[in-house]
């Protein structure tokens, strides 16, 4: 992977922002999608009712996960699907490997799975001699560039078409300089079609798993999940425990919300239902915990498990749009990623809840009404309490607390500040002050408001 794991969000964002033209274009592309979402959602008068219903259903699911999981498992088994339970990424990867190995499969096609990105399944299987191809076009582009996806719905949104042309020239032998999106897509389609025809093993993610029937639904625009699954001898689905919905009729709410929130489409081109293996085919479903039950136990953060991975919080986030998804150094980026990641590794992701202005736009667009910005704020408190906050932040907090703790402290700090700004401004205006890098400090008023007020009150 190209990405440096040791750098924090702020420095990765700084590197991305250096190419200002790219940032403007990235920002505009995501804002365009946000606007499409607005148009699509406003065409349905019952939009807010749908959000409320989806939120309530998901709350019910995460509160009764135990029962729904057992019901789902029983129905899957009845339908002829083999069910596996994985506590963590390692267990998940080992299960996939053992299924493929039993069938002597050395090549697998994958689609629509952020979970397997999270588990780093590709790397695991490649080390064991199994080749994996991501068949979603965006994911495929990211895979050949050896970079993780930067967005859960639009994996290569940070790349220019010319860069993709260059990658295709290198990996698929296209003409140098070819950057027409339609032409490039045709080349990829031809290449992937051959992949679908020759792979005996296929793995997909899961958008919605219906406890009542034991079926699962995968939503795509490219039809690639179907191509892979239908042509395979062994079909594997990997899903996080939280992907359940109680009944089939609830799909009528979620399918309407998902695509409108994600891209502004009324519905994804394909909503594929998988229920039982065809004769001669094997079907496996892996239920993965990987930190989800831990998050369920965190009262302040359990609501994050309601997420249906539409990506609308990313498209609307002013920080995400300007910093790019890779700056979040986590599989799930953006605001939702910033509340999911600290649960996985609080120390490594301590910077992410701070990569937000807490403007609240994410919570406003969330189709399942997760209070994302509220949770970002709460994670900050958790991180400080656990001692993972950066020193500068802790020091600043103490200084702030001292200044505001008494009127005397406040007045003397103000006087000191004004005196410094007027007499020796270089103490503040220097390269050690991050404010001063691209912004000037204010000149500072001659007197404080309190002094001004006292003087003017006397006049009257």
């Amino acid at each position: 992977m190209k990405q440096t794991k040791t750098k924090d969000h702020a420095s990765l964002a700084e590197a991305f922002i250096k190419d200002e033209e790219r940032v403007d274009w990235h920002d505009g592309a995501l804002w365009f999608i946000r606007q499409k979402r607005d148009i699509a959602s406003k065409q349905i008068p019952e939009w807010e009712q749908l959000r409320e219903a989806a939120s309530t259903i998901k709350s019910n699911v995460i509160s009764n996960l135990h029962d729904y999981l057992l019901q789902f498992e029983a129905n899957l088994t009845r339908n002829g699907v083999t069910v596996h339970w994985a506590a963590d990424a390692d267990e998940h990867n080992a299960i996939v490997y053992s299924i493929l190995k039993a069938k002597e499969i050395t090549q697998m096609v994958k689609s629509k799975s952020m979970l397997t990105e999270e588990c780093q399944l590709n790397e695991y299987l490649e080390e064991r001699g199994i080749e994996v191809i991501n068949s979603d076009l965006g994911e495929y582009i990211q895979q050949i560039d050896k970079e993780p996806p930067s967005h859960i719905v639009l994996p290569c949104i940070h790349k220019r078409k010319e860069e993709i042309g260059e990658l295709f020239h290198e990996h698929l032998g296209t003409e140098k300089g070819m950057s027409d999106p339609t032409q490039l897509t045709r080349v990829a389609r031809k290449h992937l079609r051959n992949v679908f025809l020759t792979r005996r093993g296929a793995l997909t993610g899961v958008n919605f798993a219906v406890a009542e029937t034991g079926e699962y639904v995968v939503c795509t625009n490219e039809g690639n999940a179907d191509m892979g699954a239908h042509l395979s001898e062994v079909q594997i689905a990997s899903m996080g425990l939280e992907k359940l919905i109680p009944q089939k009729k609830h799909l009528s709410i979620f399918l309407r919300l998902l695509a409108r929130s994600a891209t502004g489409q009324p519905i994804t081109i394909y909503s594929s239902h998988y229920k039982k293996p065809r004769p001669g085919q094997e079907m496996h479903l892996i239920l993965v915990d990987a930190g989800r039950t831990r998050q369920l136990g965190r009262v302040d953060f359990r609501d994050s498990l309601k997420c249906i991975k539409c990506g609308s919080c990313m498209n609307t986030c002013p920080v995400y749009r300007k910093s790019g998804g890779l700056s979040y150094h986590n599989t799930i980026s953006g605001p939702i990623g910033a509340i999911l990641a600290p649960n996985l590794d609080m120390k490594k992701h301590a910077d992410l809840p701070y990569a937000s202005t807490l403007c609240g736009s994410c919570s406003n667009v969330c189709p399942v009404k997760i209070n994302i910005h509220g949770q970002l704020y709460k994670w900050r408190q958790e991180i400080v309490k656990e001692g993972y906050a950066a020193n500068t932040k802790a020091l600043g907090m103490k200084a702030m607390a001292w200044t505001l703790s008494s009127p005397g402290n406040f007045t003397s700090a103000g006087n000191a500040g004004r005196w410094f700004m007027h007499n020796i401004p270089f103490v503040v205006n220097n390269r050690f002050n991050p404010w001063y890098k691209q912004r000037d400090m204010p000149e500072g008023p001659k007197e404080s408001f309190a002094a001004w007020y006292a003087r003017n009150e006397k006049k009257e």
Binding site: E14, G396, P442
Partner: protein, 70 residues
Amino acid sequence: MLWIWRNFCVAEEAVSVKMGKDRVTDHTKHGAEYITSSDLSCLMHLEGILHRNKSAVKIMHIAEILNAEL
């Protein structure tokens, strides 16, 4: 002055400045001569960017407008 050290504007300097620059551009593109707000930290941020770029656009707190003599 101390409060800024812990804030987004400094911790996420690059993103913060880019957001401020874009906001200023939005205003200047529409011919604004003054920018006003009731939020001091916002004004300080935009003024810092305008001043560094030698812009003629002025920043005024809403109280300065209300207190101005006609």
